[in-house]
Symmetry: C2
Subunit: 324 residues, 2 copies
């Protein structure tokens, strides 16, 4: 088996067969049939060894995460996922590594009925580029620019777990084995909040997924919407492990580091009752409100403004990533 | 100016503004409005330093080529290009390099009215992944699988120039400076045959772009169409530089090495007269015919079967590329 056949074998046997894929892997292009009357939502994310993940990363987790971070972007638009392309550079062919990588990637693909329709491979330093596509009605797409003064700000799930796990792995903090097990999955196998994004169509004014930290990502909503916000520290949802970490080391893990892939979104007053009734398995918490005055004001329990030590950009010197 | 702002500045100022781009760079996803009643043609190609290009490559040529090889895949489906995403890993920010890269890429984008709508950047070894999208009517898409016995086989332009230029650059052959100038552009700045692909809609039975060599790529058509072919050596179009090379070193450059990005396509007898009347600036040559008997038979001027020394896969040990 040569290198081409091997790779073709691993990827051509992908497990999803959608009716809207007229031609998938194997021609010059994939031929796809988007539904009439909806917009196509398209996103692309890179994961590079030594920048986004450690060289000894579990390949199944890496396969999961490479797809998950793209599906998370679709979730943040309120889009329904459909197809993805994979660009993979590999230093060498390692059959068991590739099998595990595909297992992780395709298990998530199957869960969300998203089909691999093409891509490219090359020999080179390990890097994964995925481009994912989905559908969203034009009128209910969740843009970053839609927030209005008076909107309530919500986040799904809990924040900071991925950052705490990363600090442990970098040797900067020490967690007990059981605590690490709890948070490691948040870093290694994030859950794209696709069902939550779909449920928020027509209810949320603006949304983003938290990949660079709450402050940076909420900051994008504020900048695009030309608004400001007030966020209450004691309303930010934390896991027990992260709560203990925050009490000891401060709020930066929960506020200024990313990789949680929770959704942050804003809801106008008239939709708050409906949103509060949504039952999300991951939970849903109101953490503040959009204000007309620009700037992000973080308020602690004593009513004082809290000034984070860093804001979420360039949060690890080795970690440099930015969407175009 | 930090790294994020710099990259955002270079890419956000892309020169094309299509009416079907509802949201381009700057949100979680691009939002795109595909035309009703057509299929979406999607393709993705990687260029990795040391594999697909030399470290000292001219950045403007690299920007051109990274987009051109993707547009070439759209051309081979008969698709009209619309949008593209860029994933770029860079070892460091070099403003003049980035400006030149963007100039080359955006000049080609403008020529074909194709808009950059998103992507991702990261620090890492230099690599470019582009994913391009276009439209094609379902009934006239040029598939690899459509060839039928009796079809004539055509190629656009001339073959082998890129291979001859590469041999010179690798120090394996020596060209005069004037000869090298003629062929270097074929390797460095290939022309995607988009107008030709559009003109062949409804006329050609099957098509592919030649990126791995005529033998390998025509071989894909034969395999997908479950047919064979006869190709006449003396009908293969060559530039004067490549002709001199072939006379001296044999046919491998023209037959078994790629990067010419010409189209190879098959035409049923009833459409031959119409196709022969098409005026392609790059030229158009009939090189053989599809036969029911499987296998590719190459016939020399004495009527003997010609056996190439290698067939186009793995044609340079450092050059390992394959589409999924």
């Amino acid at each position: 088996m040569n290198e081409f056949e091997l790779i073709r074998r691993y990827f051509a046997c992908q497990p999803v067969a959608r009716a809207d894929v007229v031609a998938g892997i194997g021609d010059d292009c994939a031929l796809l049939s988007p539904p009439a009357g909806q917009l196509l939502a398209v996103t692309s994310d890179l994961l590079v060894e030594g920048v986004h993940f450690f060289p000894d990363v579990d390949p199944a987790s890496l396969g999961h995460k490479a797809l998950a971070v793209n599906l998370s972007d679709l979730a943040a638009m309120g889009a329904e996922p459909a197809w993805f392309m994979l660009n993979l550079t590999l230093p060498a062919i390692d059959e068991s590594w590739l099998a595990a990588f595909c297992r992780g990637m395709f298990m998530l693909a199957r869960e969300h009925n998203v089909q691999l329709v093409g891509g490219d491979t090359a020999r080179g330093p390990l890097a994964i580029g995925i481009e994912a596509q989905g559908f969203v009605p034009a009128t209910t797409a969740l843009r970053r620019s839609g927030a209005k003064a008076g909107d309530r700000i919500y986040v799904t799930g809990t924040l900071g777990d991925a950052a705490v796990a990363l600090q442990h792995r970098l040797g900067k903090q020490r967690l007990s084995e059981s605590d690490f097990t709890v948070v490691a999955d948040r870093l290694d196998r994030p859950t794209p909040r696709l069902r939550e994004g779909l449920a928020l169509r027509g209810l949320a004014h603006a949304a983003i997924d938290i990949s660079d930290g709450l402050l940076a990502d909420l900051g994008h909503i504020l900048a695009m919407s030309q608004t400001g916000a007030r966020v209450y520290l004691d309303k930010i949802p934390l896991s027990a492990v992260c709560r203990a970490h925050v009490d000891k080391f401060g709020w930066e893990a929960a506020l200024a580091t990313g990789d949680d892939y929770e959704l942050c979104f804003t809801v106008p007053p008239q939709n708050v009752a409906t949103v509060e009734k949504l039952t999300f398995a991951c939970g849903l918490h109101c953490i503040g409100e959009i204000e007309a005055e620009t700037g992000l004001r973080i308020v602690d329990t004593s009513g004082q403004f809290y000034q984070p030590a860093f804001s979420g950009h360039d949060h690890f010197s080795s970690l440099v990533k930015q969407s175009i």
